[in-house]
Symmetry: C2
Subunit: 413 residues, 2 copies
């Protein structure tokens, strides 16, 4: 069931096929090794090698870090969030400050999410109609209305390099009918976003929805690719479904997306998932997981996550990961980090964040190199053989707990 394209839509679609102002030529594919891709995302704030992981800085800050540190760790692109910044400090304040880059002192690339996911996961009240979505602020309970056009207007005001269409997010467990409706609305909203967008220095990405239903995903891709966006995101995954279903959807959806456009898997960022999904041709990732678990003491190592708060680390005089070149591991013993965690010293949340992000920065670099060398397959096998993922049942429970907690606080998002 391909959605109807109204005469009005047809009109402006024709208009932007020749005259769309957004950045279409923003991606260069350099290598494809059995589906795993290396490329470059070209932005007004620099060229970003892909596959790329983007640290999350929803509120115009990557939690605990200065922009200088984010760059030193190896990142050239971060994610910020329209929902958070609209509510606080407000769109006009950021616009008057000269845009988001200047406001947060970050001269690298920025991708802003449209706020769709956050409205559905954070707002204590959500009322939808075709025009847009009414929601309440999780901060002060005030009521707001967001439309596809406003989501674009706000992101244009920020001046982000990549911006996202407004999407309606389904929850895991929603019926096929409900997910189908949300997918179809997301498609129509994407079309409205496309029409509303005209900043030349930005690329607007469409978001593929469709939950865990392959047919819906396929239809979403068909609709969006007909609109020819400069990039495509896969949304609505990693929201509590079993990992094998996430992986199946990623693999199938990525295979449908056009070769010459970047593919962005939203909300995925555990080391093992990054490796799997790069293998299926994903180019861009974001997730708050690496920084969130860092603040809980969970640190990435080549063998899996280790919780530095465990008593076993209290006397470990070597760093948590002897192979790591991050600032934290170069300067501090596991025992010192353990001590700082026990004493709830603010410094340690930063030191842990630096470690986990550096782990990912190095991981992405290794994946890019191995794809270019034609050795990604063996890199992938070796990494996954060494890396013990979090127990699946624990992971699903943690995720549920986290998704639930988000309705109460923004601290972890």
């Amino acid at each position: 069931m391909r959605p109807e394209i109204s005469a009005r839509n047809d009109f402006w679609r024709c208009a932007w096929i020749s005259g769309y102002q957004g950045n279409m030529d923003n991606f260069r594919l350099l290598k494809n090794e059995s589906g795993a891709r290396v490329g470059e995302l070209v932005t007004a704030h620099g060229i970003v090698p892909t596959p790329v992981f983007m640290p999350v800085g929803s509120g115009a800050v990557v939690k605990t870090l200065t922009p200088e540190e984010v760059k030193d760790i190896g990142f050239r692109m971060v994610l910020a969030n329209t929902y958070h910044l609209y509510l606080r400090p407000g769109i006009d304040l950021i616009e008057k400050a000269g845009g988001l880059h200047k406001f947060m002192d970050w001269d690298g690339a920025i991708l802003t999410d449209s706020g769709g996911f956050q409205v559905f996961s954070l707002s204590p009240l959500v009322k939808l109609n075709e025009e847009g979505v009414k929601f309440r602020s999780h901060i002060d309970g005030s009521e707001h209305f967001l439309t596809p056009e406003l989501a674009v207007e706000y992101q244009e005001a920020f001046g982000a390099d990549v911006i996202m269409a407004l999407d309606e997010c389904s929850a895991y467990g929603d019926s096929l009918e409900k997910v189908e409706q949300a997918m179809a609305r997301t498609n129509r909203w994407a079309e409205r976003c496309r029409k509303a967008h005209d900043r030349k220095d930005q690329a607007l990405f469409g978001i593929v929805q469709g939950g865990v239903y392959p047919d819906l995903r396929r239809r979403s891709v068909e609709y969006l690719t007909a609109l020819d966006f400069p990039g495509y995101a896969i949304g609505g995954l990693s929201v509590g479904e079993p990992k094998e279903r996430t992986f199946k959807m990623v693999e199938e959806t990525a295979a449908l997306l056009p070769e010459n456009r970047p593919r962005y898997l939203m909300g995925v960022g555990s080391p093992e998932d990054l490796v799997e999904c790069v293998g299926w041709g994903i180019d861009m990732f974001d997730s708050a997981l690496p920084t969130r678990v860092a603040r809980n003491g969970s640190l990435f190592t080549p063998e899996g996550r280790r919780n530095i708060r465990n008593a076993g680390f209290s006397r470990m005089e070597s760093p948590i990961d002897a192979s790591c070149d991050c600032y934290t591991c170069r300067h501090f013993s596991a025992a010192y980090l353990h001590h700082l965690f026990k004493a709830e010293e603010l410094l340690v949340y930063r030191l842990a964040t630096i470690h986990n992000l550096r782990f990912l920065s190095n991981l992405m670099q290794k994946m890019r190199s191995s794809i270019l060398d034609g050795t990604f397959g063996s890199f992938r096998s070796e990494f996954l053989a060494n890396y013990q993922p979090t127990n699946e049942q624990t992971r699903v429970e943690q995720k549920k707990k986290w998704l639930k907690s988000k309705r109460l606080t923004n601290k972890e998002v």
Copy 2:
């Protein structure tokens, strides 16, 4: 009433006059301008220009900062605390890690307080006898016993550059008799510390007590200077008394102390107090105030403290202090800091700490220069004319609240 010196004490006093192992030759006085002094504290971890303010790192960390940042801000010496480190992570752990410098990755100088003040202000239970003090951990309620000898042993294990004798602290409002007893016991304990101490690379300072009673202060100084310590601290001030009494005690006590030894005023660190007390010949200071108030949004400017959380800063696109050269002011607008405070973003506690400490680092540098130039008097007048101190009544109330809160939490100490 000069305390009796026992034959036993006389014996070892003679012993250490010729054979005391501690660092006696640790201070060079370079200039004295009407009482204000410039000198150098010579330590095994570098030469520290005085007057010096030492940032507080009770738990082996200057809250929110890496050692690298502390150094970049301009500090060469920090304070840590025996009480905190004895309870967590423990003396032997730090000793086995190679000492405190190595444990916390700080290669500058360290002064450790003996824990006396913290026992009296943080422990939910304090029982004193001549031998020592029994207290309960504010962390887990466990019971401990600290003696002057143990305080020295622990600080020797840390390997701090300057260590403090164990003192009994009076509270503001204690009777003259009670303060006198505490002062006399502090003197006897100082003598025992002197005897117990034998690390050549450390300087052990005695602590002058006597509350707000000039006669007791004088007697404390006489007793301690007869023991000839390599430095003297003035303790038991800035504990809730009116500021004019603090100042009077500092002025009178400093005047009694030997010219050729460093003078350390414990627990003083507001900009206006530093300027006043340098004028009376104080060489060393520490206080958690600059970093504590920073985390509450209160930032030093040449005109006084400003609270960045106030709505007036929400749209201020310039830094909080246009004259400031700190990392924070060089990179971020007041509006951005305001936003981060509103969003309770962890980064901002660091950015505020950096600003306040840089303000003090610059202030100490200006004082040293002006003393060397012979212009300290006019610098002092000009600074105090511009700097609006915190309202005295507010200050005393805040201090009381803080002293009270310390019994409940260690977060702010």
